[in-house]
């Protein structure tokens, strides 16, 4: 018997029991939908994080206080000091360095007249403007003199400015943090949420000023070092490590009290985290597919019993066992295949809506990744489930006796 004819018979069998067919594939639809949502949002999140890391540039190294292993005493906050910045700035130590950008951060409450705003404080260097890609709508950014003289100047994020000053001019006005007065020298363009900071919520003062007057310590939380040439990055990382070891009197690299990371390192770490999460959530969704498969098997068994006469008749008229087997197997595979397609479509739609909601409510621009490979996989997996869970009922059908056709109703 030709496969084309068997497929026709299978489709006919399904269309004769539309309600049942729809209910049968519901489990598969839900399972595939869940898997598509998890993988699609997972890969969107991954893309977003990687994109953010990329924006820090492939030519930057981040110096973080702390130890490489995650053992005891791995968390350090105070190992980077001003002398390290000075050592890094020496051209003989790190010849490929372009910008050296030390900074600190913390919370700060900004007061203007009767208005108060709880902002994120960035104690910045002039280089932060370039490294963090900050644009100003008004005024200017911190300059070298501000950091060396610990000037009381401040740059406001767009939202901070809006909250404190409304539409009136902010430049030249004075705001207070911890009873010290700062002169507003610049206002940032709205930028929205990025990976670590919402720059609209931020206030920026020179890092030296922040250390002394706001945070009350003398260490540095991060140092970003950039190079002109991305190809020189790994060489520069080695120079940085050597410089800091010398500055900290460390001989064994295992004793390092700092970590030098590149965007690539961070991307790898985040990539691993998101993959693990995706696999974990995906396998939970996968369980629902198995449940859906058992549902298919159950309904197929009922269907086979109900259609005993039809099967008997077909066999009496010359259908071979394998014709009946194929007919029911194809029915199962078509059912789950359709379930897979519907699941992929609803899953993609829900992910898309989810991304729009995340954008509207959290202000994070998740890129929507059309999950083509996920779609093919989803449909493929559901068809495979139809096949696996359809074999037993189909075999039962194929072994029915043609005598059944002779039984009276």
């Amino acid at each position: 018997m030709k496969l084309k004819d068997t497929i026709k018979i299978s489709i006919l069998g399904l269309t004769l029991h539309k309600t049942r067919s729809v209910l049968t594939i519901l489990g598969i639809v839900i399972g595939i939908t869940a898997i598509i949502i998890v993988t699609s949002l997972g890969s969107s999140a991954e893309k977003f994080i990687l994109g953010e890391l990329e924006s820090f540039g492939t030519n930057s190294a981040f110096i973080i206080p702390g130890r490489g292993d995650f053992g005891e005493n791995s968390i350090l906050t105070d190992s980077l000091k001003e002398k390290d910045v000075e050592a890094l700035e020496k051209e003989s130590n790190v010849p490929d360095a372009n910008l050296i950008v030390p900074f600190v951060f913390g919370p700060a409450t900004v007061v203007y007249e009767s208005e108060k705003f709880h902002a994120s404080l960035l104690g910045a260097s002039p280089g932060n403007q370039q490294v963090d890609k900050l644009e100003l709508t008004d005024g200017e950014f911190i300059i070298n003199e501000d950091t060396t003289q610990k000037s009381a100047v401040i740059v406001l994020g767009s939202k901070v400015k809006e909250e404190l000053f409304g539409s009136s001019e902010a430049i030249g006005q004075r705001v207070k943090i911890k009873d010290k007065t700062y002169r507003v020298i610049g206002v940032l363009e709205p930028k929205g949420q990025s990976l670590f900071v919402d720059y609209d919520d931020v206030v920026i003062v020179p890092y030296t000023t922040a250390q002394q007057y706001i945070l009350g310590y003398n260490y540095i939380q991060r140092i970003v070092v950039t190079t002109y040439d991305a190809a020189k990055l790994s060489g520069m990382v080695k120079d940085i490590e050597a410089t800091l070891r010398e500055s900290h009197n460390i001989e064994d690299p295992d004793d390092d009290d700092f970590i030098v990371q590149t965007a690539e390192d961070a991307a790898q770490t985040f990539g691993q985290i998101t993959s693990v999460l995706t696999i974990l959530l995906g396998s939970i969704a996968g369980i629902s597919l198995v449940v859906g498969g058992v549902g298919i098997m159950n309904i197929m068994l009922v269907s086979v019993t109900e259609r005993t006469r039809e099967i008997g008749l077909r066999k009496a008229l010359g259908a071979k066992n394998k014709d009946i087997l194929t007919q029911f197997l194809i029915e199962a595979v078509i059912l789950t295949g359709i379930g897979g397609v519907i699941g992929v479509i609803t899953g993609s739609l829900i992910s898309y809506v989810g991304i729009i909601l995340i954008h509207n409510f959290a202000g994070i621009n998740f890129p929507f990744s059309s999950p083509l490979s996920g779609a093919i996989l989803g449909v493929g997996v559901s068809m495979a489930i139809g096949f696996v869970f359809g074999i037993y009922p189909a075999r039962r059908a194929s072994l029915k006796s043609p005598i059944e056709a002779l039984r009276y109703e």
């Binding site: 009496a316 010359g318 259908a319």
Partner: protein, 239 residues
């Protein structure tokens, strides 16, 4: 030439250790072109005999030569092939696919015979003409009357030009008038040379055949030429 030749054909059913005799030691010879009625009360074994003769089941003992071939040792697939190519079935309850059209039902054996689309179309149209249902060709079978349904079933039985037609109580679900039309039809097919075996428990149906085989308790009780045979086209319908 004998199309059916059985010797000591036996079928014993076993259910949870209890053996029930279906038929025992049946010796039967049916020649091509014969019109035979197998008659017996319910439980006599006539359905078992039909299942065996129609290659729907295998005997548990004895031999069965169908068209010169020993059946008892064949595989399922070979039996399916024989049923498809050499046997036509007509059932009491029609056994049509109710949601499909007349033509699609008639085509069914041709589909399993791997006939080309052209062959399917040509043969099924010829058959639908033969049973006088041309104007109903594209009707859903469920919309037909009982008599019409049985004519579709006959057309389907004839589609692969079988060596023999087995009819199992073909008039059992019909009113007497439609039943007579069907029997008339069988007689006409017989006149054209078809071999027909009807299983029935009603003697007025059996009397349409040339030869009547009486079954009782799983064995042939009597095998005789029909006395006072009814030719429906001559005598008209009874009742």
């Amino acid at each position: 030439m004998a199309i059916i030749n059985t010797s000591n054909l036996t079928k014993i059913y076993e259910n949870e250790g209890v053996e029930t005799i279906g038929i025992q030691n049946v010796n039967l010879k049916i020649n091509e072109g014969e019109f035979i009625a197998i008659i017996g009360p319910s439980g006599s074994g006539k359905s078992t005999l039909l299942q065996l003769l129609g290659c729907l089941d295998r005997p548990s003992g004895g031999n069965y030569l169908f068209d010169g071939k020993e059946i008892s040792s064949l595989e399922d697939e070979d039996l399916a092939e024989i049923r498809n190519k050499k046997i036509g079935f007509v059932f009491q309850s029609f056994n049509l696919l109710p949601r499909q059209t007349v033509i699609e039902n008639i085509m069914l054996p041709l589909v399993y015979a791997d006939a080309t689309n052209e062959q399917r179309k040509a043969i099924s149209e010829k058959m639908v003409n033969l049973v006088g249902l041309k104007d109903r060709s594209n009707f859903q079978v469920s919309k037909l009357s009982g008599g019409q349904k049985q004519r579709v079933a006959i057309a389907r039985a004839l589609a692969n030009n079988p060596k023999i037609i087995f009819a199992d109580e073909p008039t059992g679900s019909l009113d007497s008038k439609s039943g007579e039309v069907i029997l008339d039809f069988f007689q006409k097919l017989h006149a054209k040379g078809h071999t027909i075996v009807i299983v029935t428990h009603e003697s007025y149906v059996a009397q349409c055949a040339e030869r009547i085989i009486h079954i009782r308790d799983g064995a042939i009780e009597k095998d005789e030429k029909t006395k006072s045979r009814r030719i429906i086209s001559e005598t008209g319908f009874i009742k």
